[in-house]
């Protein structure tokens, strides 16, 4: 019964009485009740909600009479919030408490999943976009583009741009591409769907159907090439999303006239073209729509009623994807990634755990940190500069050389500040040293306090919410769209296509080769070394964990192994395996008994 009460209509005095009597009875108010109370506009004692999310805590503060701090408001406004009632309440209260700009930002951040949130801030939005740089867009499509065009305005506003949109006539793609108008626009947008390519004719032989599709792709690709040769404008095109309903069931990707075989072909040809023409920018539809279930990417009713290719949800997601790409085109990704050390770069605290107590390597939880370091290297390869920003003993830098699991080297970082100075001050020094603006920085830190301080004192720095769980961080960093480069330099692009060609060739060869050839081609290498203090924990762990390949029942622990290492008649060795696909780390270990000039490998 309590759940169905509209708490907004209940007097705040009664609420206080209810919570007090719960306290007096020694009962804790259930979280759902506190949540409902805060969402409906009441303020509760801060101590009761210590474990709640920041947005809910912030709403509680807004509901109360305390002063609100703008830093938290900016932080909350940049978050995707699952709870729509909470988001709506936040927007309303932020507006009432004089935080109209932050309320609008929060609505824009969450617009793609719930467009209704824009309603209370519609007038603020109108005013806000007037101050933004304008982009003039010409929108083309083979199907109805109208709902998509309507969604471009809020999507681009979220990315920081005012739009002026001109929609081409229905279905007119080829004529538009062949006669581009340069002066009037900043960019072209082509909203693609399979309707532009293929109405499969099931009376045709498969080969004839595939030929027809190829002809159609040729037409569009040559029209795009013609556009690129006549115009200097960028053209943004979405790839065609895979079809959740196959035309040929199990065989859909194999046979030429399968829906997904056709889609793959279209996308491949588009990618080939985009890798040759810098002006052509592809938006991966699958990535843009990845929070929507594939079955909801289109709405058949809207397709048959008005040739609308994507559902309302999917249309907003795609509009958002185009807006992100435009932001990347205009502003480019940030130049510097400033990274904290303890519990961000590695697990554990250097000052307390010592170098060899730090978690980073092949086992949980260090493997999540190693994976994150690999993401840092990826960003470096894509042109970002890495820097260290840590409150730590300066000697912490030695961990990069001394810890066997850390894959980054000191040389990977262009600059570092490892000291006890506040980070906002340190980042300013880094900016001067590297000679870039503060707005070129992304700052990664596991501490909410450090992030808050950075947002407050150096708001130009982009300080995203790093997930608490290390395991979620590598995927999170990959999906951080502000770091996505829109194109790599020409040299990079050429290099990667060269690699691709070489890889294709090697695939062709290997398919013809035998299994023995394959093994020989792996270039497997085994390096043996004596177990050291640094590698001992891993070896002890292998002894405890491994069963399948441990043919004896012996289970040595760390102290057993240590004793053997110190015994002059015994030796403990390990082997690291690697092959051309990468490093597999420590894979084997063995103990050796030494008697005079005879050494015997002991099975274990």
């Amino acid at each position: 019964m309590l759940q169905s009460i509209d708490w907004a209509k209940v007097d705040s005095e009664k609420i206080t009485n209810m919570l007090t009597s719960l306290d007096e009875a020694g009962k804790k108010a259930p979280p759902w009740l506190l949540n409902a109370l805060i969402t409906s506009g009441h303020a509760v004692d801060d101590a009761k909600i210590e474990r709640f999310s920041l947005p809910l805590k912030f709403l509680n503060r807004l509901n109360g009479s305390d002063d609100v701090d703008q830093t938290s408001a900016i932080d909350v406004a940049s978050r995707l919030i699952d709870d729509k009632d909470l988001t709506r309440a936040l927007i309303k209260r932020m507006k009432e408490r004089g935080l109209a700009g932050e309320a609008l930002q929060l609505a824009l951040t969450n617009w793609a999943s719930s467009p209704q949130l824009m309603r209370p801030v519609a007038s603020t939005l109108k005013h806000h976009v007037e101050g933004l740089p304008e982009v003039k867009l010409r929108v083309l499509g083979f199907s109805t583009t109208h709902p998509f065009c309507e969604d471009l305005a809020p999507a681009f506003a979220g990315a920081g741009f005012k739009t002026d949109i001109v929609e081409a006539n229905f279905g007119e793609v080829i004529p538009e591409l062949l006669r581009p108008v340069d002066g009037a626009y900043d960019a072209y947008i082509l909203l693609l769907d399979m309707a532009g390519f293929h109405a499969p004719d099931w009376r045709l032989e498969t080969s004839a159907g595939t030929q027809m599709l190829n002809d159609r792709i040729d037409l569009i690709v040559s029209a795009l090439a013609s556009f690129a040769s006549q115009s200097s404008l960028p053209i943004f095109i979405n790839t065609v999303s895979m079809a959740p309903t196959p035309a040929i069931g199990f065989l859909d990707q194999q046979l030429g006239d399968g829906s997904n075989a056709s889609i793959k072909l279209v996308n491949e040809r588009l990618c080939d073209l985009a890798s040759q023409q810098n002006q052509i920018v592809l938006i991966d539809s699958f990535v843009a729509m990845n929070t929507i279930a594939p079955a909801n990417w289109s709405d058949p009713k809207m397709w048959f009623y008005g040739r609308i290719p994507y559902s309302a949800d999917a249309t907003r997601a795609l509009a958002d994807g185009f807006a992100r790409a435009w932001r990347a085109e205009k502003k480019g990704p940030p130049k510097v990634l400033a990274i904290d050390l303890d519990n961000t770069m590695w697990g554990g605290i250097f000052g307390e755990d010592g170098v060899h107590g730090l978690q980073c390597g092949d086992d949980f939880p260090g493997n999540a940190f190693k994976a994150m370091q690999s993401e840092f290297l990826r960003l470096k390869k894509q042109g970002m500069i890495l820097a260290i920003l840590s409150k730590n003993d300066p000697v912490a830098i030695t961990a990069f050389a001394d810890h066997p699991g850390i894959i980054l080297d000191e040389d990977d970082f262009v600059a570092h500040r490892i000291n006890w100075t506040p980070k906002p001050q340190n980042i300013r020094e880094l900016a001067t040293e590297i000679n870039v603006g503060l707005d070129s920085f992304v700052f990664l830190d596991d501490s909410p306090h450090e992030r808050e301080a950075m947002r407050a004192l150096a708001p130009q720095v982009y300080t995203p919410e790093l997930p608490d769980a290390p395991a979620r961080r590598p995927g999170w960093l990959r999906s951080l769209s502000k770091t996505w480069p829109i194109r790599l330099t020409k040299e990079d692009a050429e290099r990667s296509s060269m690699y691709q060609a070489r890889r294709k060739a090697s695939l062709m060869q290997s398919s013809a080769a035998s299994f023995e050839d394959y093994l020989a081609g792996l270039e497997q290498k085994l390096t043996l070394e004596e177990v050291s203090q640094a590698t001992l924990p891993r070896i002890a762990q292998m002894h405890q964990k491994t069963n399948q390949f441990n043919l004896t029942t012996k289970r040595f622990d760390e102290s057993d192994l240590k004793a053997m290492m110190e015994d002059e008649h015994q030796m403990v060795v390990l082997g690291r395996a690697n092959d051309k696909f990468g490093d597999h780390g420590i894979s084997i270990c063995a103990t050796i008994a030494i008697e005079g000039d005879k050494a015997e490998l002991k099975p274990c």
């Binding site: 109805t144 109208h146 309507e150 809207m302 008005g306 309302a312």
Partner: protein, 78 residues
């Protein structure tokens, strides 16, 4: 028909058609300048999203005035 639903429909008309006049059950495309076939296409998903319902194709055609919208919403339990 609850007052909340009427207010919600009025707000949707403001969103979709930028129409701020009074709505009654007889209000039809003739009375709302922006209510053409293209905008009708935008109206349907907006209704669906706001009331968390899914309309059939027949219902899309059934909507000739604001009263029809309310009949459909009531049928879906909104």
């Amino acid at each position: 028909m609850s007052k909340d639903v009427r207010t919600e429909v009025a707000e949707i008309f403001e969103d979709v058609f930028e129409f701020e006049g009074d709505l009654n059950f007889k209000t039809s495309p003739d009375d709302v300048p922006g209510w053409d076939s293209l905008k009708h296409i935008a109206l349907v998903p907006t209704l669906e999203q706001n009331f968390d319902i899914s309309l059939s194709m027949d219902e899309m055609h059934e909507i000739q005035n604001v009263g029809d919208i309310h009949i459909i919403l009531e049928r879906h339990g909104a």
